[in-house]
């Protein structure tokens, strides 16, 4: 990999391809594309060493708009394609672009196996809780009761909590961001890039055509502060208007406390430790329905869990190296000959 030693002179524009972006006007994908293009000059990787791999869906058009290497593949398979790519060339910076239908429905199997194997990719899971490209059916993240063309009486499915799924698959970097908080999104993108291993970012993305406002409660000025908590490693969990609320951990159960009535102060609060697997599990499970933010816990954003574990591609290439050290570089004639031969003279 050609890592630049000097300060990068590239601008986000250098990472934009010559293709017209064709998402619907107002789509949350525009913001995500912009944030990705803006951090690219900062990650210290030349654009020829970057590959974007996507599946199928609105978000999966993403690679066409990046002036890097890229592949727009088939539905759900981007993690598997990226696994082969990274095994073949571990030096590449690989970004998997997927959506809630792509990653969690048709590609669920590929996602979990990629996570447990811990390839060093960044996975951007655009979650809009709807099928957009097929014009508006419910997705595996749509809340129960979602009314769509395919569920006129409301969906009866229980939805996935994507991060709980990633945690169950032993993902080594589990995080959440949103299209409408670009600054936070950029920070998480950079953290994901810095993590060696499979870095999953669930990105709440508004589909203004088929599921407008699905995440409004977390993004709108009036409700955002009370319904979200932005967690940072080593910092107490404070949220609400002017930081008037906090979260304490009572055993394994989180509770909201009032920081203004004098009963609690910041020292009583749950301090986020992203390396604590068990507490991360609690955080990931803070998943109350957005319609009830006043009674439930706020929806957390940030990096919930991070773990250093060897990557699949490193272990694979270590084995290749060890095999060469032990047996010598492959000798084709010896292989063809085998151990039992006879001669006919």
């Amino acid at each position: 990999m050609s890592v630049t030693t000097e300060k990068p002179t590239r601008s986000p524009k250098d990472f934009s391809s010559d293709q017209d972006v064709r998402w619907c006007p107002g789509c949350g994908d525009y913001s995500i594309l912009k944030q990705v293009q803006s951090i690219m000059p900062e990650i210290g990787v030349e654009k020829e060493d970057i590959v974007f791999i996507s599946g199928i869906g609105c978000s999966s058009r993403f690679p066409y708009y990046m002036n890097t290497y890229g592949m727009h593949s088939i539905h759900g398979r981007a993690p598997a394609i990226a696994s082969g790519l990274k095994s073949a060339n571990p030096d590449l910076s690989v970004w998997v672009i997927t959506g809630d239908g792509d990653a969690l429905s048709i590609g669920g199997n590929h996602l979990i196996h990629m996570l447990r194997r811990n390839f060093d990719f960044n996975i951007l899971l655009f979650n809009n809780e709807i099928y957009g490209l097929t014009k508006g059916q419910y997705s595996p993240t749509s809340p129960s009761g979602t009314i769509t063309k395919s569920t006129p009486m409301g969906s009866v499915d229980h939805p996935f909590n994507p991060l709980a799924l990633a945690s169950g698959a032993d993902g080594t970097f589990i995080s959440r961001a949103m299209d409408r908080d670009p600054k936070h999104l950029r920070e998480i993108l950079k953290d994901a890039n810095d993590h060696k291993g499979s870095s999953l970012i669930e990105i709440y993305q508004n589909c203004n055509v088929f599921n407008d406002g699905a995440f409004a409660v977390y993004t709108d000025k009036g409700s955002k502060e009370d319904s979200t908590v932005f967690v940072e490693h080593g910092k107490p969990m404070v949220f609400g208007k002017d930081g008037d609320k906090g979260i304490v951990l009572d055993g394994a159960t989180p509770h909201i406390v009032d920081l203004t009535d004098g009963n609690y102060d910041k020292h009583d609060l749950w301090v986020h430790d992203k390396y604590d697997r068990f507490k991360a599990g609690v955080l990931i499970r803070c998943f109350d329905a957005p319609s009830t933010p006043s009674v439930g816990l706020p929806r957390p954003f940030g990096v919930f869990y991070q773990e250093n574990r060897p990557t699949y591609e490193d272990l694979l290439h270590d084995q290749i190296k060890n095999s060469v050290e032990r047996k010598g570089k492959g000798d084709l004639d010896a292989l063809l000959r085998g151990t039992n031969t006879w001669e006919i003279a």
Partner: protein, 622 residues
């Protein structure tokens, strides 16, 4: 090494040109090992051989039942051998079920070697013999020569001084049978001794015990007064050279490695375990020092898509499976086709549809390979003819995939995958080169990923090269630029371009040759895949009888060799024996309007040469 062939008093009484032995017993009896040991020993002795393992789908079906019978047929001779033999001369049965399941495969006046302790009341009942009446005692085997040996008792006797338990002792009884057959056919114990020493290097007591039983079996033949007939099968007059024994899947794996070396491009092998293709994964995983990246994927789809990802990154992506797994790969094959990346997909065919007959052979996936995709998605299809031919065809599959930037189907089947034969292996310097169309650096002009050379082949531009950044995908692409295009004229053009590129491969494969017989014969037998051996043997025999017959064997099925049509038109009749309901015959008819005659068999078993010959005779007479 000590003297491995004990001194013997039995005289060689009879010389034979070829002998077929069928070993049969419970799937836990070590039948496959016994068979493969006799094969290796005979091959090392210089016989030509062909083998056919036939085992149940269950790993350990209920003991003593017909369902649990495992078989291994071996044909060895002082003449050239192309099949494991139609009927066998010797049937070795470890129990009653093995006899019941296989008696119809024994020649009249053939020899049965029966382990009498496998014919007790319980075994007879399990095998379904009426009133548990033993066929060894009711004169029903009158037309055969029966040698009864209490193998279990003799094995225990040979091991009485050891501290092994009964179960462990009984596990060696296959060695007794093997030793006895080594005596009968005057074979050397050396190769098996060497094998045991390697296999049990960590448990020397098992080397000792197995060797003791092997020798006991040999000595039993030598000292027992009952058996005075021994046979001699002299070495076969094979072309000069150094040989080894090779199984189909093993040869296929080696062909892939050789191709990777000759292309100087690393091999990525993404595969999900499936019978009968898994042995390719096992073999390749052992050779990481050839820079083989073997990847046991989480499913069949991940197996092929990971391989596509590796090809995009500049490795030779290869995946293998069998029928049901290939069905799952269909969508990704279309992707590889439209991306125009090299990819090899191996189908080791088995009986279908659905899960079908996992351990039995069939050739019913030919049309799936050629047509089984959505849209116009032409993919070259080639097929191996025999175990050793898997090496050559695997190499060819990689050559075509890389040099023409296309996915390639390589068809094998359960029969050749598990079968073995002697192989005069090539020297690496005699294996051709493969030239990968890499674009190593950017030029002055902007890079156009779908610009083509005179063969219609695009460049292989892999991530990591400055100035060649580009996006590829499953959407229809504009000619040259590769940008997404929904333009009707462009789609027509791209479909035509891709079809023409594949058709043009006919200019880069060998012209079709006649295997045996003369151009203009009354009857041509046209085969593909594993039917080769049976047809070869049948036609050889018919030519000796001065019959007007010839044999052509196809290895390139799509596109066909460009002289094929002209060649086929020179024969009065074309008979196509295949292990399906008539698939190649459909292609021949639709491509050339030649009225080829189907000859179909779908029993999960290969053709015998007799079956081919009998069918041929019908068409020669009419």
């Amino acid at each position: 090494m000590e003297e491995t062939k004990p001194k013997t008093k039995g005289k060689i009484q009879e010389s034979k040109k070829d002998v077929a032995i069928l070993f049969a017993g419970d799937s836990g009896d070590g039948i496959q090992l016994t068979g493969s040991q006799f094969s290796t020993t005979s091959a090392l002795f210089g016989n030509d051989i062909s083998t056919f393992p036939n085992f149940p789908a269950e790993i350990r079906a209920p003991q003593g039942t017909i369902a649990g019978v495992s078989g291994f047929q071996l044909n060895f001779g002082s003449i050239e051998i192309y099949t494991p033999g139609d009927l066998c001369d010797v049937l070795v049965v470890m129990n009653a079920a093995a006899l019941k399941a296989n008696l119809d495969k024994l020649k009249t006046s053939g020899t049965i070697i029966a382990n009498t302790s496998g014919f007790d009341k319980r075994n007879l009942k399990l095998a379904g013999y009426l009133d548990a009446r033993s066929p060894l005692e009711d004169n029903s085997l009158g037309k055969y020569r029966v040698i009864e040996i209490d193998v279990t008792k003799m094995t225990r006797e040979a091991l009485k001084e050891t501290s092994l338990g009964i179960k462990e002792k009984d596990r060696s009884k296959n060695m007794f049978v093997l030793g006895f057959l080594y005596w009968m056919y005057n074979r050397n114990l050396g190769p098996t001794q060497k094998f045991l020493e390697e296999k049990f290097a960590k448990t020397p007591e098992f080397i000792e015990s197995n060797l003791a039983v092997l020798k006991a079996g040999y000595n039993f033949g030598d000292t027992s007064e009952t058996f005075t007939t021994r046979f001699e099968v002299k070495p076969a007059p094979m072309p000069k050279g150094v040989y080894r024994n090779i199984m189909g899947n093993q040869a296929l794996a080696m062909g892939l490695i050789a191709a990777s070396q000759k292309a100087d491009v690393p091999l990525f092998y993404g595969s999900y375990p499936i019978t009968p293709a898994s042995d390719i994964l096992h073999e390749l995983s052992r050779h990481k020092n050839f820079d083989v990246r073997s990847f046991q994927a989480a499913d069949e789809i991940a197996a092929i898509t990971s391989s596509i990802g590796a090809s995009f990154a500049g490795n030779i992506g290869v995946t293998a499976s069998s029928g049901p797994g290939i069905a799952l790969k269909g969508e990704a094959l279309g992707l590889a086709c439209i991306l125009e990346l090299p990819l090899v997909v191996v189908n080791v065919q088995r009986g279908g549809p659905s899960t079908g007959l996992p351990t039995k052979t069939e050739q019913a996936d030919l049309l799936q390979a050629i047509y089984g995709r959505n849209g116009e998605a032409p993919i070259p299809v080639i097929a191996a003819a025999s175990p050793k031919d898997c090496f050559q065809m695997a190499f060819e599959a990689v050559r075509i995939a890389v040099e023409h930037m296309t996915p390639v189907f390589l068809l094998s089947d359960g029969y050749i995958a598990n079968g073995a034969e002697p192989w005069r292996f090539p020297s690496s310097k005699d294996i051709g080169k493969i030239t990968a169309p890499f674009l190593k650096k950017a030029g002055e002009e902007p890079f156009l990923p779908y610009e083509r050379d005179e063969k219609g082949v695009r460049k292989w531009a892999i991530p990591g090269i400055k100035g060649l950044e580009h996006r590829i995908g499953g959407l229809e692409k504009q000619d040259k630029t590769g940008n997404v295009s929904y333009d009707p004229e462009n789609h027509q053009k791209m479909v035509d371009i891709r079809a023409e590129k594949i058709a043009n491969i006919a200019n880069f494969i060998p012209e079709q040759e006649i295997d045996q017989g003369k151009v203009g014969a009354k009857l041509l037998i046209l085969t593909w895949g594993s039917v080769y051996g049976a047809a070869k043997t049948a036609v050889k025999d018919m030519l000796l009888k001065d019959l007007d017959v010839a044999h052509i064997h196809l290895k390139y099925l799509f596109p066909f060799p460009k002289n094929l049509e002209g060649l086929l038109r020179k024969f009065d009749k074309v008979l196509v024996p295949e292990l399906n309901k008539g698939q190649l015959v459909k292609l021949i008819r639709s491509e050339f309007l030649i009225d080829a005659i189907p000859f179909s068999k779908v029993k999960g078993l290969p053709f015998s040469s007799t079956e081919v010959q009998e069918e041929a005779l019908k068409h020669l007479e009419s």
